[in-house]
């Protein structure tokens, strides 16, 4: 094989989560009472547009979760195939030019010259302080003065490519839709364009167009310029911010995945069995809840650091180490955040267990396990779902703060928090090094905004009591 697949823990859990989501969607398709609220969500233009943006992020994150080690050119001493020590992902492969085109240090977006001055020897032997040309950014230009014309031309070509792709996909989809609607495609186009469809397809396709235009332009520019500049060690900021997407997604989703079993099990048990079980569970979550979250996380991560420093043999490669730390961070965040959901589930179970249908099941002699699983759990799923989507954006934002406090993801891992942390001191420079901060904040803002808008729609659809609130 020309490569050796590597399955990190977070990769496995992430794909497990995708599998669960697909399973859930398949289940929901067949049941009308589950389909109805989702249809409600799908009818909202804002929610669907957000879903497209979230989908784009998920695509980047999943592409970054397929890891492998490429084979080396030279075979080993016994002629066996050897693999490179560093772990790559599919995203790295796609962004290979960005990853390899490193400069010496800072350079502004679309710059052709370095940010700092260097002393070079002029041909006549004198020493001069100049800002040298970049090794990669705009290196193809003979006359740096024509840079912006070149940028505009390339961006236009890339955007046109993106638009063409959009047009092709749109046409294919429209043909299929026209068949389903039983009308000519021209009519179908008019319907979508006027927004006279059951689902807000116009919003979906407009968002997709915006994304593809942007992606096309960036893809055309990125091999020749540093679209978002470079950082202190000359690494491309666009590459960093795209790699950070996965970290944000992992923290936002896996945290809830690891906390769900605890919260659901304990909440259900406390509400259903009451008595001493209830006392113990209540005591547990009140105790955990009374410790300020950041401090508990800080204490736990400090202890993790001690453990990792004293047991280096448990983490053979730097990637695995960073990955384990990310997973532990999710675990710790999960432990501090399950209390809210557990309390809500307990309250709802207390209410549900008194209802007639549960009493009837008990009277028929149905076992406790079966009642919990078949009669109570399905009626609590909307609470779980709402809390999962609502937590997501808060967790993405929390990652940045934790990395600043020094208890976030591994410093070697790409994350928005680490980017901000590394760049914030550069605001004091003159001229200001703003691009790293801007890139991290912008990508984080887009993800969190989309997640918030989507979460609002989900909450409104699944919890009718809060509608209009």
């Amino acid at each position: 094989m020309p490569f050796q697949p590597v399955l990190l823990w977070t990769d496995a859990l992430l794909f497990l989560l995708v599998g669960l989501a697909v399973l859930f969607a398949w289940q929901a398709r067949r049941r009308e009472h589950l389909r109805a609220p989702w249809r409600e969500v799908a009818r909202r233009p804002l929610a669907m547009a957000s879903a497209v943006v979230l989908g784009a992020y998920a695509l980047i994150g999943l592409a970054d979760s397929v890891h492998f080690r490429p084979a080396l050119e030279q075979p080993g001493p016994q002629g066996e195939r050897r693999y490179a020590p560093e772990v790559w992902s599919l995203l790295d492969l796609a962004l290979a030019p960005l990853r390899l085109q490193a400069e010496k240090t800072y350079s502004a977006p679309f710059a052709v010259r370095l940010y700092v001055k260097e002393t070079v020897q002029a041909p006549d032997g004198t020493l001069q302080r100049v800002r040298p040309r970049l090794r990669w950014g705009g290196a193809h230009l003979e006359d740096p003065g024509r840079r912006w014309a070149d940028v505009a031309a390339r961006a236009a070509r890339g955007a046109a490519g993106g638009l063409a792709l959009w047009g092709l996909a749109g046409a294919a989809w429209l043909a299929w839709r026209a068949r389903r609607w039983g009308c000519r495609w021209r009519e179908a186009l008019a319907r979508v364009a006027a927004g006279r469809t059951e689902l807000p397809w116009r919003a979906v396709w407009l968002t997709a167009a915006a994304l593809l235009l942007l992606a096309g332009a960036v893809a055309a520019l990125a091999p020749h310029y540093h679209v978002l500049g470079t950082d202190k060690v000359g690494e491309d900021v666009l590459y960093q911010s795209l790699k950070s997407v996965r970290t944000g997604l992992v923290i936002g989703t896996l945290t809830t995945l690891v906390m769900l079993p605890f919260a659901v099990l304990l909440g259900l048990a406390a509400g259903y069995f009451r008595g001493w079980v209830d006392d113990v569970v209540q005591y547990l979550y009140t105790t955990l809840n009374s410790i300020p979250g950041v401090l508990l996380i800080a204490a736990a991560v400090l202890m993790l650091q001690v453990y990792m420093a004293n047991h280096p043999e448990a983490f053979p490669t730097a990637t695995e180490r960073a990955d384990m730390r990310l997973l532990f961070l999710c675990l710790i965040l999960g432990i501090t955040s399950w209390t809210g959901l557990c309390r809500m589930l307990r309250g709802e179970t207390l209410k549900l267990r008194e209802l007639d249908y549960v009493q009837a099941a008990q009277a028929f002699g149905v076992g406790s396990g079966r009642i919990l699983l078949r009669h109570l759990l399905p009626n609590l799923m909307h609470i779980v779902l709402i809390s999962v989507v609502l937590d997501f954006s808060a967790l993405v934002l929390a990652e940045a703060v934790l990395s600043y406090v020094g208890v976030g993801v591994d410093p070697s891992m790409h994350s928005w928090g680490n980017m901000i942390n590394a760049a914030r001191l550069e605001m004091a420079r003159e001229p200001v090094v703003w691009w790293t901060l801007a890139a991290a904040f912008l990508l984080m803002f887009a993800l969190v905004l989309a997640a918030n808008l989507f979460a609002d729609a989900v909450r409104d659809a699944f919890d009718p009591r809060l509608r209009g609130a």
Partner: protein
Amino acid sequence: MLAYVVRRLLYALPILIGVNLLTFVLFFVVNSPDDMARMQLGVKRVTPEAVEAWKRERGYHLPLLYNAEAEGLGRLTETIFFQKSVRLFAFDFGRSDAGSDIGYDIRQRMGPSLAVAVPIFVIGLAVNVTFALLVVFFRATYVELWGMVLCVALMSISALFYIIAGQYLVGKVMRLVPISGFGEGLAAWKFVVLPVAVGVVSGIGSGVRWYRTLFLEEMGKDYVRTARAKGLGEGAVLARHVLRNALIPILTGSVVLLPLLFMGSLILESFFGIPGLGSYTIDAINAQDFAIVRAMVFLGSVLYIVGLLLTDLSYTLVDPRVRLS
């Protein structure tokens, strides 16, 4: 009333014991003091003597739970558990790993923390409630729609962005106030203005949304319909009836936060160089000073439990419908 307070206090005791045990397990059982010493002294090339000296200096050389070598009661008191964990109950925080007196540090740093946290809390509450009332007043219009969109957008911006943007714009470009630092007495005001403004602005998005749901919940009740039916204008209904009734959940929801104001804000204080408890904690985390982090975890939980107690009390004081049982 007194009996009620005493009962609540007794109820808080097992929780505090739980927190104490949890921190003990986290700090001393998950990793032994040897591990901590090796981490502090550098993992490689550290002699057992150096580890022993480090532990002895900080009192970590004692056995964890039971000291077989000591006499009488000393078997239980001459242990890490008693010296480091049980003493926290008496608010005896001991010395930090770097050697300073934690109790003294905390008393010194409470003032600056409060100087920032209290204005943020008061102004933030007033601003959020006002905006939420406005949004409710203009409900079912474009003002509400765009107000809510704006709130979601504000909520989606990282708190770090508000701080960095505020420091850059107000401190560096406009040069209105110093970027960071702190002064003695009233001279500190110019250091406090910017962090307070940043703190208030970063809380607006979620705050307005939260208070709006509270108001809307009240709007659906019968007394509001009665007030309208007797011909009151919308403004009067909101100000005189809805606001007053909604003050109950607002007040009781805020009381729980009051004691935690002592802890200050972690990131605000460290960005603005305010010598409060928040930056104290961050410095301790960065220096891996376990004693300080342990003390702050305990202090934070105590304050949270005090907040819960105050919430229960405020319910009974504010709302005559809630009687003590």
